[in-house]
Symmetry: C2
Subunit: 85 residues, 2 copies
Amino acid sequence: MTLFRVSVHIVPRKGLLDPQGKAVTDALHTLGFSAVADVHVGRHLIIETQATDAKAAEASVKEMCSRLLANPVTEDYEIEAVKPV
Amino acid sequence: MTLFRVSVHIVPRKGLLDPQGKAVTDALHTLGFSAVADVHVGRHLIIETQATDAKAAEASVKEMCSRLLANPVTEDYEIEAVKPV
């Protein structure tokens, strides 16, 4: 068993309202960053987990995402990287 | 001016308490994912901004991070990618 560090992005589904992103866009405009067109705010998770290989680590993190970490109705997740620690 | 899509990770500083990460670790253990050693929870921002080139887009997002998006006392940020849309 090896320790793997898996990075995951969880973002609001495209087309769904993203009130947090809208609030950040407005705040950036107020601060003078008028070139900002749009902001999306999601979560970035770094999960350290034991697994036999990178494939097994990725599969187990996918299961964690669908069972606990991401809301399947409103969010999409993607595995960004799987690296041995 | 071109529209760039800049991805940013904002994560709790190493060594600081990360109660959200601890809560997720515990929840994963409860669900049976006993191989999980540690979880860190941060934010993942996707910022679409107009800029003359990728360097200018990155510089402007760095300024946004230090002025609004990241708490310099407790968080670190890193620009993950800068891509024209």
